[in-house]
């Protein structure tokens, strides 16, 4: 069967700015997140993901205003991540216009938060954010705080546990590939897609259009793309065409 593949621009946010870095360090300001979000919506983004990349580190949460502005003009699903630590945080994001939340650090600290979010808002709202770093062949460790903090947890075991608790989707970021433009960590995607039956979003490493169908072949349901879009090296349509040409089911329409 032809799997459906979503293409999801990922907007990493610091303060009021859209930023991008290499290996999640050495950040560079890209621009106004609203301007980019509107462009991606018009280009046919299937969803948008906003991640506040410093929220976990500095214990603050300033995404609400950015999400409110975006949700006002954008009629595709919006996922928000970064610094979400409690049901109150989830509620604030949902009331700002988020459709889903991605939770990473707080879920590691207290896995029951996954079950609480799933119970109150439904599993479809509870996206598990995972930062995976390769530690050996076919073995990845869960990191938090944008690849700075190791947890000692095995990625595959953690994703299984989180899905049992109620996570309805997994956004899987390779810390090794992030910002390299060298392609996704395919063995990582395969390992996680085999371990769970919820949809998996590949993140970290997209560089060339053919990276999208390669991730699809590894089993994912969506791919997240950041700097290739931000720096206009590629358009969403190009990525989708390459994915469709490889035989995957893709939404080619753009909003009229």
């Amino acid at each position: 069967m032809t799997r459906h593949i979503r293409v999801i621009p990922r907007l990493d946010i610091k303060g009021n700015n859209l930023i991008k870095g290499i290996h999640l360090e050495g950040l560079r300001v890209v621009g106004d997140p609203q301007e980019f979000a509107l462009r991606y919506y018009a280009e046919g983004a299937d969803e948008l993901v906003f991640v506040d990349i410093v929220a976990s580190l500095y214990q603050r949460n300033n995404l609400s205003d950015i999400i409110k502005r975006a949700a006002n003009q954008i009629y595709v699903p919006i996922t928000v991540g970064g610094g979400i630590r409690s049901l109150d945080d989830v509620s604030r994001m949902m009331h700002s216009g988020a459709d889903k939340v991605a939770i990473n650090t707080a879920a590691i600290a207290r896995p029951d938060l996954i079950a609480e979010v799933a119970r109150r808002y439904g599993s479809q709202c509870m996206v598990l954010g995972v930062e995976a770093k390769r530690v050996a062949d076919s073995h990845w460790e869960v990191y938090t705080d944008n690849g700075r903090q190791r947890t000692g947890r095995d990625v595959v075991a953690w994703v299984r546990q989180a899905v049992e608790l109620g996570a309805g989707e997994v956004m899987l970021t390779s810390v090794d590939q992030e910002g390299t433009r060298k392609g996704f960590d395919i063995p990582l995607l395969q390992a996680v897609c085999t371990a769970v039956t919820v949809p998996v979003i590949a993140s970290g490493g997209f560089g060339r259009a053919i990276d999208a169908p390669a991730a699809a072949a590894a089993g994912v349901s969506a791919i997240a793309v950041a700097d290739a879009l931000h720096w206009r090296r590629m358009g969403i349509g190009q990525i989708k065409q390459a994915t469709q040409a490889a035989g995957w089911d893709v939404r080619m329409e753009i909003p009229s």
């Binding site: 459906h4 009629y75 595709v76 949902m94 700002s96 119970r119 949809p199 349901s221 329409e253």
Partner: protein, 212 residues
């Protein structure tokens, strides 16, 4: 004058994006958290829905909104249930036990099959932009501005299986498994997908609803 809509808030889901989408389409939106006499003449009702069926129905009843929906349906005025709000129109849901719904449409809400027609496992929840295929003529319905094959956004693990073919308006396909995507009986409408998150095709449908 702007067409008016009452969006029912039973405290579980997030109404904000629903309200915004309706306002974008030109509606004057009022959000109602409780049933009551002042809503008896509402020209249009929307029942959005995320979260679990059982919790949602319990909240709907606790707030007297179930009665409101039942009475509104009798008047023949337009009603739109979305996602879990569509599922609630049916007799019963099998999500986490067995929970009675509003019983306005005959049928059961069942888990989306975990395997495709080829017997191979596929991803649940069922998420993505899927094509709408007609089960009847869309002329004169909320989908009259929609082309067969247009894609809308689904995110769900359960879907209704209507007893009666004539209420089925549109289906979508998930690996060879037919999924009921939209139903109607008179002015009573339900859709499993999210028009408020489905870009132009979803907004077209909401505009038709406001013109109904």
């Amino acid at each position: 004058m702007s067409p008016s809509v009452v969006v029912l808030d039973y405290g579980v889901g997030n109404l904000l994006n629903m309200v915004r989408a309706l306002e974008h389409c030109g509606a004057a939106v009022r959000v109602a958290e409780r049933g009551g006499a002042s809503l008896a003449n509402a020209s249009r009702l929307v029942l959005p829905g995320v979260g679990a069926f059982g919790d949602g129905m319990a909240e709907l009843r606790a707030r007297g909104l179930d009665e409101l929906v039942l009475r509104h349906a009798q008047t023949g005025r337009p009603f739109l249930g979305i996602c879990v709000g569509m599922q609630m129109l049916f007799d019963v849901s099998e999500e986490m036990g067995e929970h009675p719904g509003l019983g306005l449409l005959a049928g059961r809400v069942k888990a989306v099959p975990a395997v495709g027609a080829d017997g191979r496992a596929h991803r649940i929840p069922h998420i993505g932009w899927k094509a709408l295929e007609p089960r009847r003529d869309w002329q004169g319905t909320l989908l009259s501005d929609t082309q067969p094959g247009e894609r809308v956004y689904f995110v769900h693990s359960y879907a209704p299986v209507p007893d009666h073919e004539e209420v089925r308006l549109a289906d979508t396909d998930y690996d060879g498994v037919n999924i009921c995507a939209a139903v109607m009986r008179g002015n009573l409408y339900g859709c499993q997908f999210h028009p408020e998150r489905s870009a132009s095709p979803g907004l077209h449908m909401l505009r038709r609803f406001l013109a109904a």
